[in-house]
């Protein structure tokens, strides 16, 4: 059956089915309205006009999962390909990843193996710091303070003296 757009009379090409509180809600949008309502952008935010169609209540974890602030990967994109975007995704999607990893790993939930020796200082660590500093400045310039705080923490976590620093 061909659906018309929920917001205008054009043929709908973007379709979404949400299950909330055991009830099914369908959304049908034409490409223009879908774009205007934020579909195709970051996941997790439901357009206001669409949200009105649905009773209030908790969203399913899949829909409320945030995108990774570090690399922009959405949880939906991760589910499609099974590949994460950056080390920060492990924090961004921790709740979703916990059961997945535990299932794949025969119930294991914590690392028990080799821990990297991060005591030595060197050139490439300096390069990584330079890169993180650049990202930090960009985050501050664009007022992404939460992201900036995470980058700052990562910077603090990089151990070892820089070239030219005293041990």
């Amino acid at each position: 059956m061909e659906h018309k757009c929920d917001l205008c009379d054009k043929p709908a090409q973007v379709h979404e089915v949400l299950i909330k509180n055991g009830q099914k809600h369908e959304i049908h949008l034409c490409p223009e309205c879908a774009s205007a309502q934020g579909y195709g952008g970051a996941a997790g935010q439901l357009p206001a006009k669409i949200a009105k169609k649905i009773p209030t209540g908790e969203m399913t974890p899949e829909r409320t999962a945030p995108a990774c602030e570090n690399c922009g990967l959405t949880h939906a994109a991760f589910r499609r390909h099974g590949i994460l975007g950056c080390p920060g995704c492990y924090q961004a999607f921790e709740k979703q990843l916990e059961p997945l990893i535990s299932r794949a790993q025969g119930g294991a939930t914590h690392h028990c193996g080799h821990v990297p020796d991060q005591q030595s200082g060197h050139l490439d660590r300096q390069l990584q710091r330079t890169r993180l500093l650049k990202q930090l400045n960009e985050a501050i310039a664009t007022e992404q303070y939460e992201r900036a705080a995470k980058i700052r923490d990562t910077l603090h976590g990089l151990s070892g003296p820089l070239l030219g620093e005293q041990d």
């Binding site: 570090n70 690399c71 990967l73 390909h81 099974g82 590949i83 994460l84 975007g85 950056c86 080390p87 492990y90 990843l97 997945l100 990893i101 794949a104 790993q105 025969g106 119930g107 294991a108 939930t109 914590h110 690392h111 028990c112 193996g113 080799h114 821990v115 990297p116 020796d117 991060q118 030595s120 060197h122 050139l123 490439d124 660590r125 390069l127 990584q128 890169r131 993180l132 990202q135 990562t154 990089l158």
Partner: protein, 352 residues
């Protein structure tokens, strides 16, 4: 690549349990802290990863002398040959972004940069030699760690692009020749048992590849919750011996109950390979597998495992085209004629 037809040293005729185990491999996955994983990274990010890894002592000072191959500079034929030697993956060969591989002089070590993870380092050894392979790759890991910060979480361990590889990021695998289990139709049960033991059973070229020549790659899927040593011990001491026991029992059963049938199959395979003028890849691999079984059970003395292993490699498209001076895109019919000629000649040389 300077040695397109040099036999690969990890595929010899020796090694523990070489009647069933062709080779052992240990692979470690690592990613650089603060850099997007390869799939999400930009080309400048990927180039930066290549630069960081190449400046590490693994390339500068390592006694194994890892040499660097930029993938973009290799021909399709050379990339295919590296896949056939198990030194790079299919996905890595086919990708179209900055990436490269470091290879040791003996072709037992390879360090892929910008595969699914930033770094995938692996060590290969003939026969059942998982500890040797692990020790060698651990040396490379330690050297890389001295200059590179890896993405690491105290809880999850080494962070990998695919979350199911997290933890130690380690994969132990053995390439097994299982014609006995195939002939006794026990492979289904083995696959089920492997699944219960959290093992992956794949074709001889890993993920997504079909089994050919009764060759199977068996590897662990658990990478979290145990140390590398514990994972190694479980795989080497519990899992692999079980599979070897099943395969040897199947071979013994066939020898006891259908010896003449088996001898007939082995000698027919040898006669076909010595005489054929047209030989497809699947047929060639299947017949070579039969020779390998015949040699392991002492039904035939020659050709030996070394020759059989070399031919199993050389009948594949990349090696065949390189050795015989034909294009990789040669018609399959022409390739089959060339393949038959190569095998005939090799067998005549050792059977004289």
């Amino acid at each position: 690549m300077n040695d397109p037809i040099e036999p690969t040293s990890w595929l010899g005729d020796s090694g523990d349990d070489c009647d069933v185990v062709l080779s052992s491999r240990v692979r470690l996955a690592r990613n650089l802290a603060g850099v997007p994983f390869v799939g999400q990274a930009s080309d400048p990010d990927r180039n930066e990863v290549v630069g960081i890894v190449r400046r590490s002592p693994v390339f500068a000072d390592h006694p194994d002398g890892l040499s660097w191959l930029e993938m973009e500079t290799l021909s399709d034929q050379e990339r295919t040959m590296l896949v056939e030697r198990h030194l790079i993956s299919h996905q890595f060969a086919d990708a179209r972004f900055p990436r490269g591989v470091g290879l040791s002089a003996d072709k037992r070590l390879s360090v892929m940069v910008n595969e699914e993870d930033h770094i995938r380092m692996q060590s290969l050894a003939p026969g059942l030699a998982l500890r040797d392979a692990f020790q060698r790759v651990a040396e490379i890991r330690d050297e890389l760690e001295s200059t590179v910060d890896f993405a690491f979480s105290p809880r999850w361990g080494f962070l990998t692009a695919c979350p199911t590889n997290v933890g130690c990021g380690i994969r132990f695998s053995v390439m097994l020749h299982l014609p006995g289990l195939k002939m006794t139709e026990e492979l289904g049960r083995v696959r089920q048992a492997a699944k219960d033991l959290h093992l992956a059973v794949r074709g001889c070229h890993g993920e997504g590849s079909e089994s050919s020549g009764d060759l199977f790659q068996i590897s662990n899927q658990i990478t979290l919750g145990d140390s590398e040593e514990e994972l190694l011990d479980k795989f080497r001491d519990d899992v692999v011996p079980l599979l070897l026991k099943y395969e040897r029992a199947s071979r013994k059963l066939i020898l006891n109950e259908k010896r003449t049938m088996l001898e007939d199959k082995v000698h027919r395979a040898l006669a076909t390979l010595r005489s054929a003028r047209i030989l497809g890849l699947n047929e060639g691999t299947r017949l070579l597998s039969m020779l390998r079984l015949g040699n392991s059970l002492k039904i035939i003395e020659k050709p030996g495992l070394k020759t059989i292993h070399r031919l199993l490699l050389q009948v594949q498209p990349g090696h065949l085209s390189s050795m015989m001076g034909i294009g990789l895109d040669e018609s399959e019919e022409d390739a089959r004629v060339v393949r038959a000629s190569l095998v005939r000649q090799a067998l005549e040389d050792v059977l004289q």
